[in-house]
């Protein structure tokens, strides 16, 4: 019985209920926007997902900075967990953005500053994860990865500035049917967006927490294995010594 109660009040259940409600709000409750049509509904997913990606980058940089400072494994695990979730959110943000842009701006992709910045950051954090996968395990890997994450964070304003300057020199091609029209939705847009942001934030935290715990277990298993190998090596040595004596 307590198991059932625990499940009902668990964050996972809360997240599921919130996400269900959000989907109902997006696809049933909120009226269709008159200028852009049904495609506008993707905004309610796109904005919170992009927000999640941004949170990912902030947590990776903060975690990496704290790791370099305090040298505590906790921060490294937090950084890598949030990088993984952040990259997934970033990829989804790019994808949903493109699906929205095609009917509204008439192009899948354009040189707009926010798009360019998101894409470059996506690549930087993919490289961060690949670096971690390729580098031999140990504290040096964690230290170098933390530096890469911080370099990415420092590069962000420079990338945005450059992309902004670039898009001024090459005005983005925004010529779709409803590119400049005002939204016909009033407060309901804000309500749905808020609900969706809350549920995606919770989902983000939940995924990071799960990934963090898996990471922790992985580290513990490695630790046990290493100790076990040491133990058996010591035992072997002892038995060999006994055999020879």
């Amino acid at each position: 019985m307590t198991k059932v109660i625990n499940l009902i009040v668990s964050p996972i259940a809360l997240s599921a209920v919130l996400m269900g409600t959000t989907l109902w709000l997006i696809f049933v409750w909120v009226p269709t926007e008159t200028n852009q049509g049904a495609v506008q509904r993707i905004l309610y997913l796109h904005v919170p997902i992009a927000w999640g990606a941004m949170m990912g980058i902030i947590v990776v940089s903060a975690g990496s900075f704290l790791y370099l400072w305090k040298k505590n494994e906790i921060w490294d695990r937090l950084a890598v967990a949030s990088a993984e979730v952040g990259v997934v959110f970033g990829g989804l943000a790019l994808l949903t953005g493109m699906i929205w842009a095609k009917p509204v701006w008439a192009v899948w992709w354009t040189g707009e500053a926010k798009l360019t910045t998101t894409l470059i950051l996506f690549f930087i954090y993919v490289a961060y994860l690949m670096f971690r996968a390729y580098f031999p395990p140990g504290t040096q890997r964690q230290r170098l990865a933390a530096m890469i994450a911080i370099i990415g964070a420092i590069d962000t304003p420079i990338i945005y500035f450059a992309a902004n300057l670039w898009s001024q020199a090459h005005p983005p091609l925004i010529t779709g049917p409803a590119a400049d029209s005002e939204s016909s939705l009033g407060t309901s847009l804000g309500v749905v967006l808020l609900a969706s942001t809350v549920s995606f934030t919770l989902l983000f935290i939940l995924l990071v927490k799960m990934r963090y715990e898996i990471r922790k277990s992985e580290d513990e298993i490695k630790h046990f294995k290493r100790n076990h190998q040491l133990d058996s090596a010591v035992l072997n040595n002892i038995s060999q010594a006994r055999g020879t004596s």
């Binding site: 490289a127 670096f131 390729y134 580098f135 170098l144 300057l165």
Partner: protein, 224 residues
């Protein structure tokens, strides 16, 4: 100050001396860059109209790709000869090792550009040989070697090093490549200095930011 410069010069000179003996990096980088240029002249039908439009981008893409292949060698030679330990044992601070290696890389990429840019001017029929281009090329090469040396040091112990370095290097230097491409395109279009200058400013900001950060964190990279 004078001693520091002497150390930087000594490390740079050592790399240059090795390079004059086997000519590995400069030849490889220049030939690679020229090959990329040649492929683009076939991929895009270059004529008087589109040369100004596409040329600057193609030039810097080829230098960036070729530069990475050169940077891959920067620490590979030290690792093969087991001389990295010797460098680290030397009674000099780690940021001077960084500055010395960066200086060496800067010289290699500059040498490659001295070969590549005139040939680019001929192939694309563009008047790039102006003093503004010297500033653009200098600032871009400083940025490339600052970030490149740092990442090359980071990736020496990585499996599949040749793949990992461009994956880290290219996204981070994208703003610098944008600045180089835009200012070069102002140069070929005969724009006035203020128009070029806004991009030059960006390149300067990028260079300063990454030289400071790299010198700061390089010490931690070589620690085991």
């Amino acid at each position: 100050m004078r001693e520091s410069l002497a150390v930087i010069w000594a490390i740079g000179r050592k790399d240059l001396l090795l390079e004059t003996r086997n000519k590995d990096v400069i030849v490889a980088v220049s030939v690679f860059a020229l090959l990329v240029l040649m492929i683009f002249t076939f991929a895009i039908d270059i004529n008087q109209v589109n040369a100004k439009l596409t040329g600057p981008g193609i030039l810097w893409a080829s230098i960036a790709f070729a530069g990475v292949t050169g940077l891959n060698r920067a620490f590979a030679l030290e690792l093969e000869g087991n001389t990295l330990e010797a460098l680290m044992l030397a009674p000099i601070s780690r940021d001077l090792i960084y500055a010395g290696k960066m200086f060496g890389n800067f010289l290699f990429i500059t040498a490659a550009q001295i070969i590549v840019i005139p040939i680019f001017a001929v192939l694309f029929n563009l008047a790039v040989l102006r003093w503004e281009m010297l500033v653009v090329s200098l600032l871009t090469t400083i940025g490339f070697s600052a970030i490149g040396t740092l990442f090359a040091a980071m990736t020496i112990r990585v499996r599949a090093r040749e793949v990992m370095l461009p994956l880290l290097f290219l996204p981070v230097v994208t703003p610098l490549i944008m600045a180089a491409v835009e200012s070069t395109s102002h140069v070929v279009n005969d724009s006035s200095w203020p128009e070029i200058y806004q991009w030059i400013q960006l390149a300067i900001a990028f260079d300063i930011a990454f030289i400071v950060i790299s010198a700061f964190i390089f010490q931690q990279i070589l620690e085991d």
